[in-house]
Symmetry: C2
Subunit: 335 residues, 2 copies
Amino acid sequence: MSELRRDPITGRWNIINTDEPASPDAFEVDHQAPSSGGRCPFCPGNEAITPPEIYAVRPPASSPNGAGWQLRVVANKFPALQIEGGLARRGIGVFDLCNGVGAHEVIIETPDHHRQMADLTLEEIGTVIRAFKARSLDLRGDRRLKYTLIFKNTGLSAGASLEHTHSQLIALPIVPKRVQEELKGAERYFEFRDRCPFCDMLSQELQEDERLIADNRSFVAFCPFVSSFPFEMWILPKEHRADFAQIGPEEIVDFARLLKEMLARMRSVLINPPYNFIIHTSPIGPLEREEYHWHVELIPKLTKVAGFEWGTGFYINPTPPELAAKLLREAVLPV
Amino acid sequence: MSELRRDPITGRWNIINTDEPASPDAFEVDHQAPSSGGRCPFCPGNEAITPPEIYAVRPPASSPNGAGWQLRVVANKFPALQIEGGLARRGIGVFDLCNGVGAHEVIIETPDHHRQMADLTLEEIGTVIRAFKARSLDLRGDRRLKYTLIFKNTGLSAGASLEHTHSQLIALPIVPKRVQEELKGAERYFEFRDRCPFCDMLSQELQEDERLIADNRSFVAFCPFVSSFPFEMWILPKEHRADFAQIGPEEIVDFARLLKEMLARMRSVLINPPYNFIIHTSPIGPLEREEYHWHVELIPKLTKVAGFEWGTGFYINPTPPELAAKLLREAVLPV
């Protein structure tokens, strides 16, 4: 019989197929990389096609929006939200709305069109993480913004529209529903037990060893007990930290190492799947919540979300996290 | 600038691109029908491949699991949940789980492999709705079950694994998260205004006319103000009704008529897209809630859910419902 498992934080139950678990070859994956359709706006020499750079890692002598950079952050050319203007909260009958105020930035992780994030060196991934941190901190000056979401879509079916490796940052004037649910769940748990549920979860995972993939000095990676998706992976700081942007220089090195390792393990077991990568962190400013514990969710895109998931908010996961973790742990990595 | 719109029931905000709205040709759609891989288990003559029928519409003289039927309901051969056994709620450290107890049935809507639901006659769609009702009512005898979800996945990218037109029923031992959110939202609204938010919404849509697609004696169809997806359509009973399974014989005729019309309009505007269809209804037994208002959500599968949606629970909808409703209203229908 399958198992129904309850997320201790949000209260979501998922159905896990523990009886006839699906192994990696059970999934049809589009390995096709999204086409760039001619001239890639993220390649060196094409800097003029993108909006001007907001942040860059480049030699001191080079000029902004010129060649020679290692990393660039630019505004999204087709932004979901725009930084200009006021929120203008208003109602129409039973409905509430406001203007789409916010920031939508693109982090171009490397000038090299042909390397994915997993191919970057440790130092290069560190540079990407430092850019995430710098942009997060900078946007805190704008008090209209309540939450900063950093994420990455790789591959067509995971929603990427450009092949050249990049991440995105969206800063929102509203704390997202999913984050509010996690905050409320963490708070409820804290009231009941005076402990952080993420801390409890990671200490249980380190002890039980069953869903653990790897850890280092400051971070741990495992497949969560209530995985919504097959081969879902979480990376958490071992010490309780609410806010991703407070990550220290040594932690950045440890985070980069574990992230690179997880990308390599995923690529080895699932043969380079499309995936999404999301940093879950606390809201900012007066809404910051110490009960929260920031973490990364790394989700290979293997299943289709359909009527059941839209109707219930629950997920049917054909691969138990125990099997996924075992395969990811035993993956053969490039030397 | 885009708009942020707030769902008055669940509190979810979606980002609607009101500036540069995407029209139907902006979406890449897989029109490929899922292959049946040889012998279709839902075709006449292959009744022995499916689990035995639970419910059927067939001539009085014909024998169960033989030929001659118009509609069959069978257990899903690869069920997400199984009806045997106890729930056995238990904990492992911080985690809670229980056995995957529930029902998972398949409604084979017609013996004809080559007709989609939109091709069925009004009378045939009525027969499907009567089967939904009969199965819902029958499962209420099992007090372990708290919620019945009826849904339909059509097309590969909407999660269908078989081409032959069918719907599914999953009865759950837990009220789904999404339903609980809607119930709580409806209750909060009711406390505040002593009215049902769905009733208010539908009277506003009928008045404003902007997002209305069509209506008849007992039902109305519109694109919701806070559509999560482009061309999302809702069908609601005009009279406040919490429970789908209480639908009367005349209402079944009206519901069948509007559903068939919506399927035809969607097919005309979007050229036969993959889609999901979900009946949202109240939980059952002691958990039934009079504040709820049952309805259908009909969602063509046009966009990809990616990092932003997984991270926030919010959706970015490139097509404003006002434009979608206009195109659906003006669609040319087959005579």
